[in-house]
Symmetry: C2
Subunit: 287 residues, 2 copies
Amino acid sequence: MTTSSAAGEPLTIVAGGGSVPAYVAAAAMKAGRPGLIIALKGEADPSVEAFPHEWVGWGDLGRLEALLKRPGARDMVLIGSVRSRPDFNSIKIDLATMRSLKDILSIIVGGDDDVLSGTIKFFERRGQRIVGAHEIATDLVAAPGPLGRRKPGRGEAADIAVAMRAARAIGAIDAGQAAVVVNGRVVALEAAEGTDQMLERVKGIRASGRVKWSGRAGVLAKCPRPQQDLRVDMPTIGPRTIEAVIEAGLAGIAVAAGKVMIVDREAVVRRADEAGLFLVGEADPAS
Amino acid sequence: MTTSSAAGEPLTIVAGGGSVPAYVAAAAMKAGRPGLIIALKGEADPSVEAFPHEWVGWGDLGRLEALLKRPGARDMVLIGSVRSRPDFNSIKIDLATMRSLKDILSIIVGGDDDVLSGTIKFFERRGQRIVGAHEIATDLVAAPGPLGRRKPGRGEAADIAVAMRAARAIGAIDAGQAAVVVNGRVVALEAAEGTDQMLERVKGIRASGRVKWSGRAGVLAKCPRPQQDLRVDMPTIGPRTIEAVIEAGLAGIAVAAGKVMIVDREAVVRRADEAGLFLVGEADPAS
């Protein structure tokens, strides 16, 4: 586990679901940063309880604001999946809430992206500096080059180049983050359906004979949209992605280096190695 | 039916499947162009038999070459769907075939695009000038503006602009021709699955609640890839497209004016009007 250097500085981790919040907490601890996990009720995984933590509901604003006033607490990570939306009815109207009401309302009323940027603004107004989980646990993202044992061959490298270009093109129009290319042909582009369903479609396209290839071939490429705030909203791949790529008959995965989160990296690399998939970080030509 | 002016000049129509070949023959006749339909065995629709025609198999090269030597026969339209691939075994090895063998082999051995460009080259070497079906029957494509009764509203015009931009972006990476945008959001991008299956997906995305909209909203946009040879390979919409758009809960369709073929236009416009869909030709900013 690689960690950033800001030893001694406290870190607040607002934790949604999944294994990553605890992973980030462990990285912070290893870096000598006293961390406090603010675990969202109904969202955060019990694994966070291995670290200093407080369970907080969407409505417990008074407690939340008090926790942010811990001495030296300045850096904050917002990490983990959040299924529920801030629920207006659950908010306890106390004095802290009254003071925050305008901010809260603008979060609740806004659209999807607005919730995220509204939440960031909410915390920034309270003196927090939002940092990315990958700035604390730097191995959450891929460095350029292969992550596992297998390296892409020459034809695969050509597919990677086309697929990364396709993924960037659909990011530029704010449509999606992922593309599948097999033997030079763009087989699928992601929009609202998400990566898993797109890979399911690739499986169907192959099964139907609409596009034919023998053995494993082609690549899933994933990269962020230019508009994404990578501190709080990163494209991710994880064990389920690997299984879906295997099912789809692809030969590997390419991700934008430093910009795509690999959830459960150890398991992901192990499974990719087992199945003979390549898994590679691609330096972004645009950055 | 609008027609081009080259009255008197013969026209050869190599006809695959569907209703369009006969439609083009009727337009040619109306323009005073003596047409001959070369109807591909196993592909062309019986409707072509209403016009001067010859049934020809993939292998009947000798007959094909003789037909091309009709006095003044210079312009040729290649139109209609072709399901089968040129079949090497069916080619009758006569003297004409021997002379053409090199050309034929290069068509058979090549990939998908190569079949088309190989076929064009084959005919061009034999003195033919390939013209687009829409140059003969100009109302096969949309003029700029609404085709039916309904005009897009202001929000719909915004969706059209985003969707046309998305469709062009995926064309530029040679991925697909169509995109769906609902209330500003890119919901689906077409690649190998084709437009009908993409629309099926949009239906599923709405049914699952992944993207929500009320009533009819959003647009299917369709335009050619910049690389497409519009003389022989145009994006198309037809009655099935309209039904799929209705099923998907969209409000209308936008096509690149002059560059997308509307098969069975009368039925398409009637059904769009019935269902209250808009159907609009969009002038291409790039042309």
